[in-house]
Amino acid sequence: MHDLIIGMAGSGGDGVVSAGESLITAAAIEGYHALLTKSFGSQIRGGESSCRLRISTRQVFNPNGTLDVAVALNWEDFLRFGGELPVDGHTVVIYDSKTGVAPDNIPLAGVRPAATLAVPIGDMAKQAAGTDKAKNTVVLGLLAGWFGIARHSILAGIRKKFGKKSAEVLEGNERAFAAGVSYAEANPLSGGRSMAAPENGGATQFVVDGNEMCAAGAIFAGCQFFGGYPITPSTEIMQFLNREIWKYGGAVLQAEDEIAGVGAAVGASFAGKKAMTATSGPGMSLKTEMLGLASIAELPLVCVNVQRGGPSTGLPTKSEQADLFQAIFSAHGDTVRPVLAPISVADIFGITIEGFNIAEQYQTPVILLSDQEIGQRKETVSPIDTKTFELIERRRPTANELEHYERFRITESGISPISTPGAAGGDYLASGIEHNEQGAPTASGEMHARMNEKRIKKLHPLKQRRDLFVIAGDPQSPLGLISWGSVAGVALEALDLARAGGLQVKLLIPKLLYPVAEEVYQDFLGSVQAGLVIEQSHQGQLYRVIRMFVDVPDGVQPFNKSGSNPIVAREVLDRLQEMALELQRRRAPELQPAG
């Protein structure tokens, strides 16, 4: 096998997530690509927890759908995750025989899995390690044994992890792992499901989640101030910066609320530093007024929204792409704020740097729309050549310009030099009130119109940034896919599947969502007669935003779902195949001889 999806669920103390972490680490060391997504019940501690691990010999971009292997330490917890852990006729189901469920009676309505394996997991753990805390180690042994994944690296990981504890605990876990492996070897699976060797065996890979990758990108970009407030699922950004930013001369302020967090970041930017804040849906609503201030005061700022289901508290631990309208349209007044979205954990590093560059170059707040899927999933990431990133600093006034300094001078580009407190001659009034070129408050409607023009015009060059779009597939294809954010990973896989099946498809992934680059969409849609805009929201927000600015052929339809059921590449492919057939049928009459 080249691709294996394992889903595991148990109660909080069963350690299924920790087993997933051990597996992704081991997979990375051996050179496999892997994604680990975790899902929890709403309890703070205890309760049910689950993870999905996708291991592949090649790079993969999404967690995909149906499980190849399902591990249920108890059925109640497993079933609570519903569509997040889907099982079908090719799934191998492994469960603890202690649950007392007969193999032909497992509680999966209407599904007959390929194999159903009742294993005395708890008993094996107790026998090997003297405690059923080692159940997850037994599971690791079973998985290594049956699917041939990373046996040596898993064992090395166990030694590292438990080596810090007592010899007794370490040896117990070694025995538990060995017991799992022996059980698998003694009870081989029919049909052979062993993983093939990775294409890039032994290559260095990092294991990291999107929130940490975002924070690392911020430090690389030169961020020296973060103000924020804890909110799921973005908090890891603040936690990482709180550990690291001081080393680079920066500071983190855990503020009293979301508003103070972004406010302090606006202040730090005014004082000349690259500054950032991060939040999720409800926090974004609170920060919105301050983003308006950054727009009119023309202050660089990066604001990350790690999207979750909304409105209000909504689904705090589940991913959704439903804050696009908010990101684009929540500003009061006539203003444009660049909105960027990464497509993977690896991608958010560069997108964060891009966010700082755009903020600095154009003196504007930039909204970075991540999502819970990217923010909290772990991914193997190949080394990134950091030399390819250019860092942009805000345009500061020259000595000459400081002679008669005008902070908001109306220039050809709309960008005016920005001075920093401490610089003699550069003093000015930054303000939320409309101002003239010198920065003095004004009530002149004419001046307001000129300043609106300046502030919006300066962002026009962004629309030419074709490098902020992924354009792939057959350029002449009449079938087009458009997607964004983490769901773009599904579209990438659908494109691969289509190619493998001989279907010509093209794909457009905007990483710059706003301002809408009309020409990029028009060029892409030129050959397109039918297609899909794939996204995880009820309204199909990207589809609607594109249609505001671009003529979209009727054959291009939204393909959108809200909720936590991931959209999978296979269903996208099915829709594309239907669309291809429909196009052929429509073309058929033209081919009939006249008469």
């Binding site: 080393k247 001369g249 103070a260 967090g261 202040g267 004082a271 990134i384 950091t386 407190p421």
Partner: protein
């Protein structure tokens, strides 16, 4: 944050801090007196204008940064304190002043006050307290007395006012003072002392609204009502005594320093610098930052 420690002291006259902008305030507004007191206090301190950041929110008094030659930031309603803290942490060498009205500081922005106090960030916060919303033309403010009739309390206010002095003392503020433009020399002195205080300094200024304020709250009335705390023999290192005196807010007009902590906690901005210095040697070079994520 690799900013060289630049804290120049030079000779500057009060006029050096005055900008070309003409204040929009009504003739006779108390804020004029506060503004000239600030010019004079800054001249006494001697930091050049470009090393000063002056932050405000929204309201009549929040126009004040624009009338100085400091780097000004006239921000949004109630958020001057968070912005000022970001500025101070980003560049601790700047002298950072914050100003605003009672609505800005104790209504919409009231939630920020306890937190700036517990951090003891080195800011000087001047509240021009006039017990009314002037800019929006005469509505009830958080310090308006119970029973006050305004356009939003037609039949009289049904609530007690906030007591700004007691409020900040209770939160643990290390420097708390009150002044009035009716006593300019006194006001200049407490602003200067507030700026010199190592940490967060709160100065409540009874700054009358000449248009919407009550007749007994005007400067003329202040001149007879005001009592200096030193003349009462108050010891500003006595926090409990300060709180006892602060209870009279709204009944008595005490001026001077209520409380000056003789042993203030460390300044947050100093601690930030120390941490940065201590941790700098442990930084991975930025181009190797992803090595933090090598699997173990």
């Amino acid at each position: 944050m690799n900013t060289a420690a630049v804290q120049t002291l030079t000779h500057h006259t009060p006029k050096d801090y005055q900008s070309d902008l003409k204040p929009i305030w009504c003739p006779g507004c108390g804020d004029f007196g506060v503004l000239s007191s600030i010019y004079r206090a800054l001249s006494g301190i001697g930091r050049p204008p470009h090393e000063i950041a002056f932050v405000s929110g929204i309201g009549c008094s929040s126009r004040i940064p624009g009338y100085t030659t400091a780097y000004g930031f006239n921000s949004v309603h109630g958020r001057a304190l968070p912005i000022a803290q970001g500025i101070k942490l980003a560049n601790p060498d700047l002298l950072v002043l914050v100003a605003g009205g009672d609505g800005d500081g104790f209504s919409i922005g009231g939630g920020h006050v306890p937190h700036v106090i517990r951090r003891n960030i080195d800011l000087t916060y001047i509240v021009m307290d006039n017990q009314i919303y002037g800019l929006t033309k005469g509505q009830l403010s958080p310090t308006s007395p119970r029973g006050l009739k305004t356009v939003t309390s037609t039949y009289g206010s049904l609530e007690d006012p906030v007591n700004p002095l007691l409020y900040v003392l209770a939160y643990g503020a290390s420097f708390v003072a009150q002044g009035t433009p009716a006593d300019m020399p006194g006001l200049v002195t407490i602003i200067e002392e507030g700026i010199r205080f190592p940490g967060f300094a709160f100065i409540n200024v009874q700054s009358p609204c000449v248009t919407f304020g009550e007749p007994d709250q005007q400067l003329k009335a202040h001149k007879t009502a005001m009592k200096s705390l030193s003349s009462l023999g108050h010891d500003p290192s006595d926090r409990l005594q300060a709180m006892a005196l602060a209870q009279d807010y709204g009944r008595e007009l005490y001026t001077g320093i209520f409380y000056r902590n003789p042993d203030p906690p460390p300044k947050y901005n100093d601690l930030v610098r120390e941490r940065q210095k201590a941790m700098a040697p442990t930084a991975l070079p930025k181009d190797r930052i992803l090595e933090m994520f090598l699997p173990e």
